[in-house]
Subunit: 318 residues, 2 copies
């Protein structure tokens, strides 16, 4: 089974209002509650694909209970470690123009709770085929928390996919996950500049020794390895809700890692699943018809021109 | 004990943000959770005054659990009927300028749940000295729900204070609560015009046969009975948060009803407790020093000039 780790999950609330008026009072027309946090989206996408998956991470308080119940309602198996703090909420106020987001800070995790989680994680590595590690770290966790988990998984022979940002991404990359999936903005924030494809590949190789898949919205995916760069974009742009597209991409990458799918087939699948997530109205879901169609029509991933210094400047599929 | 009825309680969340930007994403700096709903504020004020109080009403789901725990943390005794729906939340986003409010709709209450509550309410009338009925009715309840409870309390010899608005207020007034406490805006909405004091007294007497205390913000209170109008205003305007001031007023009126406090003493007490609630940063609390000072310096309530047609046009205290 694929184990998805979500250390800072959330209860995602969506409030439909007519028009957001700053400093006004709004009667909310409808409220939608959903399990939130990038790792839970990965688990829900895998569950919807029929893949064996188990969601783990940290949950606390009444809000944590609610997240657990909502996951169970969707049929997602989970094994979370309980913490004393209260799981955070996010509120998205959606009016006729767009969404306005409010993100609560996560609960503070104690060293004892983190130790309990690490012990649980070691247990789950037994049956795990792949581990995904997604999202921000809640307060209290060491910045190298993901590096610790990656090292344990690697020692157990379980491949890992890391999808986080900022210092947690930098620290996690040092433990050499099997794959990392930052988006272009997250990478740009680390690089403090926005390089072109060749500069990007060089910069990524300076940060990571393993493969890095960079998601670039409608421009598609760029997979940068030590000696190759593969590129794949959706055949047509899909309109919709981009939240959760990166998580669908991680779900596809995790399944591909398990199945040792080569880049030319893996990237079109990930591109198609991400596009299908954009076409679905909520994060953690995907439009099966858009997935099927995009997967059938996406060009296979092609080796891009950006090679390491001194390498070939053009390559065909392996 | 004073029994406070809250049929549509809430979990009140306050999000502190720097500046609210429509269609932006906000990291919330701090989150405050409080039991919400007007009747719970009444209970919390009475509890802080040291008066015996019991909070009842309807609670459901994980959000209802949280409200129950928060009340218990404040030492407020409660006996709520559980419902299948989820208790609503309210979110107040407070930035440097002001608050922006989002109010979830309440859960839909089934006829069976309402019957269970009525049975519980009958039980509580035994030890009750006064009953307060505050706030909106959740979906599913009959519009005369408050009238039903008022009739039961009256039959049991227990006085009632009604504080609601709109059709629920109109229907409740027909059951002749011992006292009603609309604010001037709620009354204005019913009257579809904003009359002066004489017109207000005449209009109120057309709606209610029992006494009505109209709260008018910093202009203070107006008590309109069948043949008298009493008036009392705070000696100085108090700056602060007006949310919950009406609930503090209801707490004072309920205590005064229990103690048969005459209008000239009752209104200054209610004015002072409402002013002290304005001075406190959160609803359901009051500033003890402002309460003491305002109570000591508030002019006693005086009979206003607005008498029924043909009545005396000036009166002194009884």
């Amino acid at each position: 089974m694929i184990v998805t780790v979500t250390l800072n999950p959330a209860l995602d609330l969506t409030y439909a209002v007519d028009t957001l008026v700053p400093h006004g009072t709004h009667r909310v027309a409808t409220v939608t509650e959903r399990p939130g946090g990038k790792g839970l989206n990965v688990a829900r996408v895998l569950q919807a694909l029929g893949e064996p998956v188990l969601a783990t991470g940290l949950l606390g308080g009444a809000t944590g209970d609610r997240v657990g119940h909502l996951l169970a309602d969707e049929g997602v198996r989970s094994s979370f470690v309980r913490i004393g703090g209260e799981t955070r909420r996010t509120v998205a106020v959606v009016d006729r123009a767009d969404a306005t987001g409010f993100w609560e800070p996560g609960p503070t995790v104690t060293p004892g709770e983190w130790s309990l989680f690490v012990a649980e994680f070691r247990e789950l590595l037994g049956p795990a085929t792949v581990v995904t590690l997604s999202g921000s770290l809640p307060p209290g966790l060491p910045i190298d928390a993901y590096a610790t988990l990656i090292a344990l998984a690697t020692a157990a022979g379980v491949p890992t996919v890391l999808d986080t940002s900022g210092p947690a991404l930098l620290a996690g990359l040092r433990a050499t996950p099997s794959m990392a999936k930052p988006n272009i903005d997250e990478l740009g924030a680390l690089l403090s500049r926005r390089p072109g494809p060749q500069g990007l590949a060089d910069a990524v190789r300076g940060l990571a020794t393993g493969p890095v898949v960079v998601s670039r919205g409608s421009a598609g995916l760029l997979a940068i390895t030590a000696d190759e760069v593969w590129e794949c974009a959706p055949p047509v742009a899909v309109a919709g809700n981009p939240t959760g597209a990166g998580d669908a991409c991680v779900a596809a990458l995790a399944r591909g890692l398990r199945d040792r799918t080569p880049w030319p087939a893996l990237l079109p699948d990930a591109v198609a699943l991400a596009a299908a997530a954009v076409a679905a109205p909520v994060a953690g879901a995907f439009d099966a018809e858009v997935y099927r169609r995009t997967r059938a029509t996406a060009a296979p991933a092609v080796a891009a021109l950006a090679m390491p210094e001194g390498g070939n400047r053009a390559r065909t599929h392996r």
